[in-house]
Symmetry: C2
Subunit: 343 residues, 2 copies
DNA sequence: AATAAAACTGGAAACATTTACGGATATGGG
DNA sequence: CCCATATCCGTAAATGTTTCCAGTTTTATT
């Protein structure tokens, strides 16, 4: 952070209002904040003068003294991912009602960036954090625990036996239902395009996939399970290789809509039609909030509900000091559309 | 903002480091900030002690005294719109290098919300703002001018003769090229799905549309020009009505990719094929950053360039006090893909 | 060895607000 | 009329940092 050449605002302060009205700075503060015993007449006069003079409360000074800054940091992997965009928007609108402002930070799934972001947030004395953790082991969350900073994990459960508060979707259920549905359509060779195994949601979706296969008595084929990158260049190769397997594959379960779309695109490039040749199921249901022409069969994850629940949990932690651990799992829903059909 | 029950952090302060090392608070501050003459030995010792004690600079206190908070507010209509998501992400990553944090705020294209957001940002003493203004007349930008708060407009030019700094795409060029291209394919009845006329970018795109028609000697049909809402329920009606016109239409120029996608979807619902029956051109080129299966012909607006330029302009304003007005127009590019064909 | 300059460090004020505490005036009941 | 209580308001300390001003020690130069 370079050096700013000179201060350019000279905002009106409580002192200014004090001089104008004749009341003490203290009284002004109390009047504006509804504290203490101030006569209605005085309160009204002060409020009007403040308004007239264009007073804006200085959150830095207030926060410094009181410990409440009215700020929350939201730390996600990638705000340009509509999944996060939708939720962050929802949160921001909710929080504005309480005059709480949002810092937004991207980790890019990098642990060092995550740590830097969290420390920076702490330096700004945020009242709390909402974090979609990278889960590449880092002890930064422990630090938050140590310092008793309220935070809620978004979409991913903590590693190990941590008692962090979190809100997640039912990823196991989603993996299970997606796979079971494909099986019900007669598919047996289901390519699974998973996420990194250290991320809890990917782990659970994969467990759901396993469970569905197991219940249907279909043998598990490790060569049909791949970890792909968010926007993977390796996808084409995976598809080509999988077609070359002895039994090939007839369906794809992708762990995000982004991956599903990319898969459909690559399948087209390879001359395969969806759903005639290959069925594809996604995960997220981003489409439900955005009008894309391609109607993807997917697992719908309720994003508004998630955003609301996360905010509610955090506000409880901060303001009610509701110390009990709150861990919420939100059910998901299979949405059948146009990218799947019976084999 | 409710009341927080009690302070829960007791962070290590300069005073703590002072007591541990025996140096004055003043010296600690200077050592950590590279100011004044501090011996390398002392500086190193202080830095190590700070590190060891887990010191985090309190930006509130620092900002209060120095006037520099290391925060910037980004105010857009809708962070869940990937167009903004992509740019905000880019900005955040750029600014993190200077240890600058981003407040994100949604206006939802509402002037009152915009004003509230900006005032809130001022209360947090942001060093500057990046604003995609609603342009529904409000004098809030004047206030920023009055108070000499650095800000840069994003994607929209100021109303009237304001001397605001801005970075925009060449919307006129985009509107012109999109229309000209459709004309070159033999289209004469081009439905124009515009945005609100009080928004500068929409105005300019429409002017480009006019110009292209004019140059080609094609008469302007007011009934082919419609203002549509971001995610409009009225779209279906517009399309149906337009088909019912004496000469109908054979092509659509949509002012955003979102609208283009929605249009294609609705056209399919109406039994029309794209591009066989109707050609569609979008605006934004969101697809270029996201792998959707539908390859839309569109006007590509360089988003990374925009984000970089906005940040650069703002940083100049804040730190170099570069008072001259900076107004940048970034060229756009027609990308021909699969939703257009000759008539 | 004297003197100037450079290197190094501290004290205290300032930023704008909140809060703990206490003082003053008015109201009401006995 | 007196005391208790409620109502209304002010003083001063506190938050953690930066900055102004100044002081002391060390090094370099003649």
């Amino acid at each position: 952070m370079a050096e700013k050449i000179k201060m350019n605002r000279s905002p009106v302060t409580l002192k200014d209002i004090s001089q104008r009205t004749g009341y003490s700075v203290n009284t002004i503060s109390h009047a504006l904040n509804g504290k203490k015993d101030i006569s209605d007449k005085t309160r009204k006069l002060i409020a009007e003068t403040a308004e007239e003079m264009g007073y804006i409360r200085n959150s830095l000074a207030g926060g410094l003294r009181s410990g409440i800054t009215g700020t929350i940091a939201v730390i996600v992997s990638d705000i340009s991912n509509p999944l996060f965009g939708i939720m962050v928007k929802e949160m921001e609108i909710l929080l504005r009602k309480w005059n709480v402002n949002l810092f937004i930070m991207n980790t890019n799934e990098d642990a060092a960036t995550e740590e830097k972001a969290i420390l920076s947030a702490l330096g700004h004395n945020v009242d709390g954090l909402i974090i979609c953790p990278t889960q590449k082991d880092s002890d930064i969350l422990h630090r938050l625990d140590m310092e008793h900073v309220p935070y809620v994990l978004l979409g991913r459960k903590p590693n190990g036996e941590s008692a962090s508060n979190y809100v997640v979707w039912d990823d196991f259920q989603g993996g299970y239902e997606a796979t079971k549905y494909l099986i019900s359509l007669g598919h047996k060779r289901i390519l699974c395009l998973s996420g990194p195994s250290y991320i809890s949601s990917a782990k659970e979706r994969l467990a759901g996939y396993h469970q569905a296969l197991y219940e249907a008595g279909i043998p598990l084929c490790p060569e049909l399970i791949h970890e792909v990158q968010p926007v993977g260049e390796d996808l084409k190769e995976i598809l080509t290789d999988s077609f070359a397997l002895p039994d090939g594959f007839t369906a794809v379960f992708a762990f995000s809509d982004m991956i599903a779309w990319e898969t459909i695109y690559q399948l087209n490039e390879l001359g395969k039609k969806v759903p005639e040749d290959i069925s594809v199921v996604g995960f997220d249901g981003i489409q439900s909030k955005m009008p894309f022409p391609c109607k993807l069969t997917t697992i719908l994850t309720p994003k508004t509900k998630m955003a609301t629940q996360v905010v509610k949990t955090l506000m409880n932690l901060i303001y009610q000091k509701f110390e009990a651990v709150t861990q919420t799992t939100i059910p998901v829903q299979l949405i059948v559309r146009d990218t799947t059909q019976a084999k």
